[in-house]
Symmetry: C2
Subunit: 200 residues, 2 copies
């Protein structure tokens, strides 16, 4: 049992160190030797747990996907108004991108390794699509079709991730990604909402 | 004179081949040997014209910046309503990203080599900022401050570039980036415009 716990802790440390590496320099440039060094775990143990770089990247993507999926499930279970829930989910995704290195690494790896088993977008984008379809009759103004609002939403998340990466060297001097995205939604919402809805 | 023309043609072919390489695989992974091969120009001639990879990347960024700057200057000179001009400029940037490999490479290199002499964003983003500031009193609705609309605009261009890259393997099967962005602006515009402006 103690042995199993130790193995789980080793895997955990490796996934964390790998997330930092993939987030910072991407799949190709990430060095397994550097991951092993920064996790304080030997290369032998690394290759025992993750025989290939692909398997390590897969574990990081799974971690980032799991965190994001939990957030999506929590928000979609809340039974609020669908448009508000869709916006709340984007704000939570922005917060996770800002604060969780595995989420940020998963977002990057999904672009760089499109053959991944669990693309990061697949755990939140369909939830937003479903919410926007539910919102369309009562909440979206005529002309604001759900597919175009979904495209807008995707662009806003992509832009948010890019903002975080641009400011990576001075994170304490900038507005949080969630605050910035909320500011953008306040401006955009009157254009897409039928009822002149406001964010609280 | 003939010799100068030949040198100019050689540089032109090298910049074009390098733009394709930087656009596809990024700065780090781009191979000078591959650039030389696909341009049909010897490695000796490549290093004569561009002694370092940095100098070749700089030339590609300068090309992409030059094309984009021309578009920005043309649109800002047109004396239309500032908000409409700002949107027109984003649509032109989307078209250039879709159709001009040097523009796409410049966008990518600006992210990957932030110390570049001419960051690609610096040739169009200040023009949009100036237009939005001019629009703010007459055209933007109260609450839609120019800085937030600028953040929105930046996210839309980032999202547009990401869309082009996601669909790089099947460009003929997708909506053009310009059409997609125009569709998004039609939905967003009523939220930011004071006069309930519509795109024609």
């Amino acid at each position: 049992m103690v042995k199993q716990q130790r193995a789980a802790r080793t895997r955990e440390a490796l996934v964390q160190a790998a997330a930092t590496a993939f987030d910072c320099v991407g799949y190709e440039a990430a060095s397994l030797a550097q991951v092993s060094k920064s996790a304080g775990i030997s290369m032998g143990a690394l290759t025992f747990h993750f025989p290939t770089k692909d398997q390590l990247a897969e574990a990081v993507q799974a971690r980032g996907a799991c965190v994001t999926r939990s957030a999506a499930e929590k928000i979609t279970a809340e039974q609020g108004r669908p448009l508000r829930s869709a916006i709340d989910l984007t704000l939570e995704v922005a917060r996770l991108l800002d604060e969780d290195v595995a989420v940020r690494a998963a977002a990057r790896l999904t672009r760089e390794c499109p053959q991944a088993a669990t693309p990061w977008t697949s755990v939140w984008l369909p939830a937003i699509e479903a919410l926007l379809c539910r919102a369309s009759t009562d909440e979206l103004r005529p002309g604001a079709d759900p597919q175009t609002v979904l495209t807008l939403t995707t662009h806003l998340i992509t832009g948010t991730e890019s903002y975080i990466r641009r400011c990576a060297t001075l994170p304490e001097q900038r507005e949080s990604a969630q605050d910035q995205l909320e500011r953008v939604w306040r401006v955009v919402l009157p254009g897409i909402s039928r009822n002149n809805a406001q964010l609280d």
